[in-house]
Amino acid sequence: MSANPYVHRPTPGPQAAAAWTRRQIVMTNVRTVGGRAYPRVRGLAREKSWLFFEILLPFLTTSAFVFVYRALQAPPEYVGFVVLGGAMTAFWLNVIWMMASQLWWEKSQGNLELYFAAPMDIVAVLFGMAFGGMVMSSTRAVVVLVIATVLYGVTFSVAQWLLLVAVFMLTLAALYGLGMVLASLFLMWGREAYHLTQFLTEPIYFVSGLNFPIARLGLLGALAISVLPLAVGLDAMRQLAFADAAYPGGTPPPEIEALILVVMTVVFLGIARWMLRTLERLARREGRLSIRWQ
């Protein structure tokens, strides 16, 4: 403890205090990620209803799709497709509910202006939200995947483990990149955009082929593969995780889809960064960083 609580890290003057090294800048952003993830993680520990609503119920929803295929006496790999889709849904929901709409929420709660008034990059805040939320979504994905696999006897036949892991990681990177783009859009459009979270559930599930091979959607599927990380990532993972199954053709091989994901990640992160900067400039120009003072 220092002798005077009002002096923590003395600096010779404001000019020196404002001149940060590159290391200081990087470390502040890294710490911001941890700092913003913290409430998410503590929230999970403190209020456990999510175990029921975010783990058990989604598992039951996935089970419902499994039983649809069972009722249709579909080949067993289709159950695997559904289970994989159910697991990946967790990340998509995390992106739209706990990231895309979050900046708008922060504005409503009066936090956004404090974020912008602090020296870190707002992208670091978004990453923090993403990592914090990922604790829950990863738990959900693992639970759905493991229990459904055991319960419904899903058999995986992975040909290229490394590529599968890479595709999974790339899918997450592209998904969260898209989440950042959406976060900027949501903030700009306000409440109207909030309704778009609704548009981003079932319609996106459908065009992403969450419960069936996306090749069946023809042109719509091809379009989805070119713009939606969930669609292309899921298709690549299905090809890689069920290598022995008779997977309907019509989509690019997983290697190409991995490349598509790389491009998506770069493009989405680039757009997100540009949009967040533009957004800050616009918001500062129009006085839209807070609701309270408008």
């Binding site: 609580p5 003057g13 000019q15 602090a118 020296p119």
Partner: protein
């Protein structure tokens, strides 16, 4: 701080116009202020005067429509990161943060935004929690704090990064007397700890500004009407000396005093409430003199009249008197949001009620 050090705050011809229908609103109309490092500077004005808009511009949250503003030499438009590293802000009624977190956790989260190491952050948070007097609420959820406790937490947040300049926007809004006093003491203690620390306080509580600020700018309708120390500002409205006398008797009434040399006016006043319960009969008189020197003649004259002085008090003008003098109305009569739509062009109407004998705004500033 060296003599050549840049000003803590410097604004030049600062304008801010909000685009709105049916008329644009001029929130700042050519604000020019200079605040030197280490100064406690106040912005005094009614609701809608433009105080918050100015703070938002200075804290890099809002762009000016035209003009420039610098914080310790850093431009608020282009050098935002530098400014954000050395400033912090607290607003009255601030409800920021996450209700599910404890006070300590909430503050630690913000400490990370300012680059404090994890352990260093926890240490700093604990220090500040003690300093602001929240030790009993350390592990309490933010959503359960009272208004006063919440504002103390906001102050702890604002001090996390050792700011060189602290922007306080109505920081005691909604606080009770003791909580407001605690907040004021906190600000003064923080500022005194390091020479050069600067505070910009906005408030419409006259007494608060009077007590805390070394210099004050009175703003209304986006314009600075006057700048000076509280004493300087009060002197501008006090052209005569005003005294209040309490006498045991006054034969001949106040007219006998009004005739004396140097006396501008003498009038009977209501006795103090405290004396109302006293058995003694007193006569209260308000005396307006050309200057203090005339008081000697009055005292001599009273002796001649056989009257004994039981109390004598010099009346000081308040900042409210200054505001009324400058604007021609009190705070309570001010429009609510600073976007006075009765003015078709959105321009401030501050000069309109001014009497002809008042100096022009330029002369005051």
């Amino acid at each position: 701080m060296s003599a050549s050090a840049p000003l803590a705050i410097e604004t030049r011809a600062l304008h801010r116009v909000y685009r709105s229908k049916p008329n644009d609103v001029v929130a700042l109309d050519g604000i020019e202020i200079e605040v030197v490092p280490g100064e406690f500077f106040g912005l005094l004005g009614p609701n809608g005067a433009g105080k918050t808009t100015l703070i938002k511009i200075l804290t890099t949250l809002l762009l000016p429509t035209s003009g420039t503003a610098r914080i310790f030499g850093f431009d608020v438009v282009h050098q935002t990161k530098e400014i954000r590293r050395i400033m912090n802000m607290v607003a009255g009624g601030e409800q920021s943060g996450y209700g599910i977190l404890e006070v300590r956790e909430q503050l630690w989260m913000f400490s990370q935004f300012y680059g404090l190491g994890s352990r260093d952050g926890w240490r700093r948070v604990d220090e500040l929690i003690d300093a602001v007097g929240l030790d009993e609420q350390r592990r309490q959820k933010v959503s359960t704090l009272s208004t006063g406790q919440r504002q103390k937490m906001n102050f702890a947040r604002g001090l996390l990064n050792d700011p060189w300049i602290f922007f306080l926007d109505e920081p005691t809004l909604g606080l009770d007397v003791s909580a407001a006093r605690a907040v004021r003491e906190l600000i003064l203690a923080w500022k005194a700890a390091v020479p050069g620390r600067t505070v910009l306080l906005t408030s419409h509580y006259m007494a608060e500004v009077d007590e805390l600020c070394e210099r004050i700018a009175i703003v209304d309708h986006g314009r600075v009407l006057a700048i000076g120390t509280p004493a300087e500002l009060k002197r501008r409205v006090q052209r005569e000396s005003i005294f209040r006398l309490e006498l045991d008797r006054l034969d001949g009434g106040t007219a006998s005093l009004a005739r004396l040399p140097g006396v501008v006016a003498a009038s009977a006043a209501a006795a103090d409430e405290a004396n109302g319960h006293d058995d003694r009969q007193t006569v209260a008189v308000n005396l307006v003199l050309h200057d203090d020197a005339a008081l000697g003649g009055v005292v001599t004259a009273l002796g001649g009249l056989g009257a004994q002085i039981q109390a004598l008090r010099k009346s000081e003008p308040t900042l409210e008197d200054v505001f009324v003098e400058l604007v021609g109305r009190g705070f309570d009569d001010a429009p609510d949001d600073g976007r006075d739509e009765s003015q078709p062009d959105g321009r401030a109407a501050a000069s309109e009620p001014r009497r002809d004998d008042e100096p022009a705004e330029e002369e005051l500033v």
